[in-house]
Symmetry: C2
């Protein structure tokens, strides 16, 4: 499913050590890449003079870095540039309903990337990063109007190394206490699935312009498999 050829094990720093539920932690690079590639938005956190701020954002990646973009004046990206940033991508796969609320949980796949974000100023590197962000969602960079110099100048792009990425996955049934098994309480999982629907052309679209193949084939697919051939 993943387009990455990366492999090997991430060496977690103390910063990416998972503090609780350590048995759920996985540091494998393939897992990180697969979760990132299945995602559409990240929740990006920075510290600001007014406290922490978390906002949803699109993102892209290559084998080394994760990329974020926004308007030049983007408050969050400017707060995060050159300082600490946390980028979290979560897929919620199901509700885990235990025999007691104390053991309720969720099935999910989550990647957390922490580190120092760097601003990309080089025009070629910037355009490449923007193509990665665009085509991460759905490959349409080559079927749409290319960016102008003004577009590029108006856009702030940050890169964040994937070297401190960690993945955490929970799946399967609830884990109840032995002494609750005899009770008359239900336990199980309610799966959740997200799917694309049929693309809806803009009201102002000129008649006769076909839907690009990469967009047309999203219909009825889950975001997880949108890169499948």
């Amino acid at each position: 499913m993943s387009e990455s050829t990366g492999s090997g094990t991430q060496a977690p720093s103390s910063r990416t050590q998972l503090r609780r539920m350590a048995e759920r932690g996985r540091y494998e690079r393939d897992e990180v890449v697969e979760i990132l590639d299945a995602g559409l938005i990240a929740h990006v956190g920075v510290n600001t003079p007014d406290g922490p701020l978390v906002l949803p954002m699109a993102y892209g990646r290559d084998d080394e870095n994760l990329y974020l973009h926004g308007a030049l004046a983007n408050h969050l990206l400017n707060s995060g540039e050159g300082t600490g940033i946390c980028v979290t991508v979560t897929h919620l796969d199901g509700l885990v309903m235990a025999r007691t609320p104390f053991h309720n949980s969720m099935n999910y796949r989550c990647v957390v990337v922490r580190g120092q974000a760097r601003r990309i100023d080089d025009a070629v590197a910037k355009e490449r990063a923007l193509k990665l962000v665009t085509d991460h969602i759905v490959a349409n960079w080559d079927t749409s109007r290319p960016p102008t110099d003004a577009d590029l100048r108006a856009t702030l792009v940050l890169e964040l190394s994937l070297s401190e990425a960690s993945a955490k996955v929970r799946s399967g049934d609830p884990a109840d206490d032995e002494e609750d098994m005899a009770g008359n309480w239900w336990a199980g999982v309610v799966p959740l699935t997200t799917r694309f629907e049929l693309p809806s052309p803009s009201a102002d679209l000129t008649e006769g312009i076909p839907t690009p193949a990469a967009i047309a084939r999203l219909a009825n697919r889950t975001p997880d498999i949108r890169r499948a051939r």
Copy 2:
């Protein structure tokens, strides 16, 4: 759809002023409540000595506060207690594909709550908050084994005032530049929907225990309407 009876306009502090795309900002309390009630997880951000940290968490609410819970030693909640915290709930409704990547966007509904989180120590208030968190996902507190004193002691619960909540919503077609209209580029929206599937009983469930009605009726519903009667 919302169970809240709250109304009126939130008075945004400078902290909740939206910095970009201000036209998308909405401060109405009903909007905030509807988005929170449609959500299953929040992305919670705190600042730590190692930089910002953002993790997905369950949450609950009443008319005054949002509630978070975790293990007593939960690193993120302990980092956020008594200091700044940001709780963000996002629904991704569709991909907005413009004629040029510069105008690509997402349709979404998002609530951001910032402020100082306070730890709840009073046993009655704590149990009430935990019921709100549990029943926010799906009302099963009353159909499962009640928490023991030990369960309650092992759980950390924080409250965060909703007074600094803001909502931001984007919907509809892409907003392209006039000069791109004549081009041969497609533009439109690819909607995304999330649905619950059929509940799957635990492998170790005693035969004959029925699925609670609140859980059974989730099947084929979107999280947005799980509270509908």
